[in-house]
């Protein structure tokens, strides 16, 4: 464990912040511009994983385990959310035979 913490601390904290912000921004862009629901879900996962990495980095730098415990909360709830989300996508697919968000335009967006 000590070894991992020192290895994490080998990279400057600012690099983690910049890297995670870029990853988060890629996720946000993906959600906004892609039209395939599966890709949108992957982009959302990318956003959450950027958060996880940043939490782990902060936690290692501060020597405080709370951040890493929070990562487990995020992983567990993200899994639950994805399970429900995939179920919704399958339900939509059965009705429209498509996973494109544009295929659903009964309601005005």
């Amino acid at each position: 464990m000590e070894n991992i913490v020192t290895q994490i601390q080998g990279v400057p904290l600012n690099h983690y912040i910049i890297f995670c912000s870029i990853m988060f921004a890629i996720g946000v862009t993906g959600v906004l511009i892609r039209r395939n629901v599966i890709i949108i879900m992957m982009s959302i996962e990318l956003m959450l994983n950027a958060v996880n990495l940043l939490l782990a980095a902060f936690s290692a730098y501060r020597g405080d385990p709370a951040g890493q415990v929070f990562v487990f909360f995020i992983m567990a709830l993200a899994a639950a959310e994805v399970a429900v989300g995939l179920a919704i996508i399958i339900m939509v697919y059965r009705n429209t035979k498509s996973v494109d968000v544009e295929s659903l335009s009964k309601l005005r967006w």
Partner: protein, 461 residues
């Protein structure tokens, strides 16, 4: 604390009732569970509040009063669903237990004292709702609403988490008490903290449906089954606002200068977008969706002029808004069943057919519009008074203009009910006793709070 445990157990018990085909026991057991929950909440009233479970949750007056409101409104919605969900879905027990789990999440958001609980509460509340919104599996509108709600909810969760992470990076804690100490004592606040505040603000505006993050609201409220819409626009919205209020009043007050301009812009956009688009709607349900956006704008007043009276003002406003919404959606269910449409025209001549229903709906609409002698007026008055206290005259003038716009589209329904004739004869509709009970009780409490606002205020604060 007993309240949250009771709700957790209740949800599982209700699921088992569905497994053993005890359909008639569902509503009595659910209501009994809600009464026990209410008992726990009231029982903790006079005990001293301190953070429980290593500072995870705190049941202070703020959490208790809003939790009571959430539980009561959920009880109303459960009573209304007696006749309703037979027509919508065959999965009755799942429907009830999902509502209970969602309510549990709402209580967690009301009472959080650590960001972990805010996150878990919001997720428990929303994940159950994603399913509820899409509970009509073969209906395309319901499907679409579920998908949009899910995508937008997950997206905003990402913002919430990034915000929490940045606050953690700056202060090294998730605990509200320690964050408060950090903001008050540290000589220089890290720029990360400001970024985190902005992201949290975005995420919470998503959850309460404030413009410019409101675009999912009309579609989701329109596509969901009517009772789920009323649950979303009352309990979920109120709980998200309490989350908002607790964060800002406990932690972020010293950073007032930083977030006030942002929030002011959001409020003004929200008021105008909500009211002007509500004017253009032909469907009553969609009008209610836009009006809920504009009410979110009014409720944000309590946060922008944060002070000792914010919580009581928000409580009166949220109570008035929730009661009126429950009445409006309950009436819409009955009208839709007899005419098959959600448009304003389907309310034509309702006063002749159902004078009682027309009367309670009129009270609800007047309350939403903020006419004196109703609870909505007291709510608006207290909110505007708060803003007056901080001398924000521009905001006040814009808000009054918007309140005037609101009167127009709320009274549209009333005019249709009393002065228009239906185009074709509509069959008499039998109103179930549970509907009569809920509508009359909600309308009566709207009037009582409007005339004696002290009845609720002296009790709570």
């Amino acid at each position: 604390m007993g309240a949250i445990i009771t709700l957790g157990i209740l949800g599982i018990v209700v699921l088992y009732l569905g497994l053993f085909k005890a359909k008639n026991a569902l509503i009595p057991v659910t209501l009994l569970g809600l009464v026990v929950t209410l008992g726990f909440l009231v029982g903790e009233w006079n005990s001293e509040a301190f953070p429980l479970f290593h500072g995870m949750v705190i049941f202070d007056r703020l959490a208790l009063s809003f939790s009571v409101l959430c539980v009561v409104i959920t009880g109303f919605i459960i009573l209304l669903s007696k006749e309703y969900f037979k027509h919508v879905s065959t999965y009755l027990s799942e429907y009830f237990s999902l509502i209970i789990f969602s309510l549990m999440g709402a209580l967690l958001v009301n009472a959080y004292h650590n960001f972990a609980m805010l996150f878990i509460g919001i997720e428990v509340m929303s994940v159950a709702l994603y399913i509820l919104v899409g509970i009509r599996k073969t209906d395309l509108a319901s499907n679409e609403a579920a998908l949009k709600y899910f995508l937008m909810g997950a997206f905003s969760t990402g913002f919430l988490l990034f915000g929490i992470t940045l606050l953690y990076g700056a202060s090294g804690t998730f605990d509200l008490g320690e964050l408060q100490a950090y903001v008050q004592t540290s000589s220089e606040i890290s720029p990360l903290f400001y970024g985190g505040v902005l992201l949290l603000l975005c995420a919470l505006c998503f959850k309460v449906g404030a413009a410019p993050f409101h675009f999912w609201t009309p579609d989701v409220y329109d596509g969901a089954p009517i009772l789920i819409t009323s649950y979303m626009s009352t309990v979920v919205k109120v709980a998200s606002f309490v989350g908002f209020l607790r964060l800002f009043s406990m932690v972020l007050v010293p950073l007032h200068d930083f977030w006030t301009p942002v929030l002011l812009t959001i409020i003004i956009i929200t008021l105008f977008v909500g009211n002007i688009t509500a004017l253009l709607q032909a469907s009553f349900k969609r009008m209610m969706a836009y009006s809920s956006i504009s009410h979110a704008g009014y409720m944000l007043f309590a946060i922008v002029s944060i002070g000792v009276t914010s919580a009581s003002g928000m409580l009166v406003y949220a109570t008035a808004y929730s009661l009126a919404s429950v009445v409006a959606f309950g009436a819409l269910i009955i009208v839709k069943r007899s005419t098959g449409s959600e448009n304003f025209e389907s309310f034509n001549g309702l006063a002749k057919r159902e004078p009682m229903l027309a009367l309670v709906l009129t009270i609800a609409m007047l309350s939403l519009a903020g006419i004196p002698l109703t609870a909505g007026f007291m709510g608006k008055f207290m909110m505007f008074n708060n803003v007056m206290g901080t001398y924000n005259i521009t905001l006040l003038i814009l808000a009054v203009i918007n309140a005037a716009i609101g009167v127009y589209y709320y009274l549209h329904v009333v005019v249709n009910m009393y002065f228009r004739k239906p185009e074709e004869e509509v069959a008499e509709q039998h109103i179930p006793a549970s509907y009569k009970f809920v509508l009359v009780v909600a309308a009566a409490s709207t009037l009582i709070i409007g005339v004696y606002p002290d009845s609720i205020l002296s009790f709570f604060f």
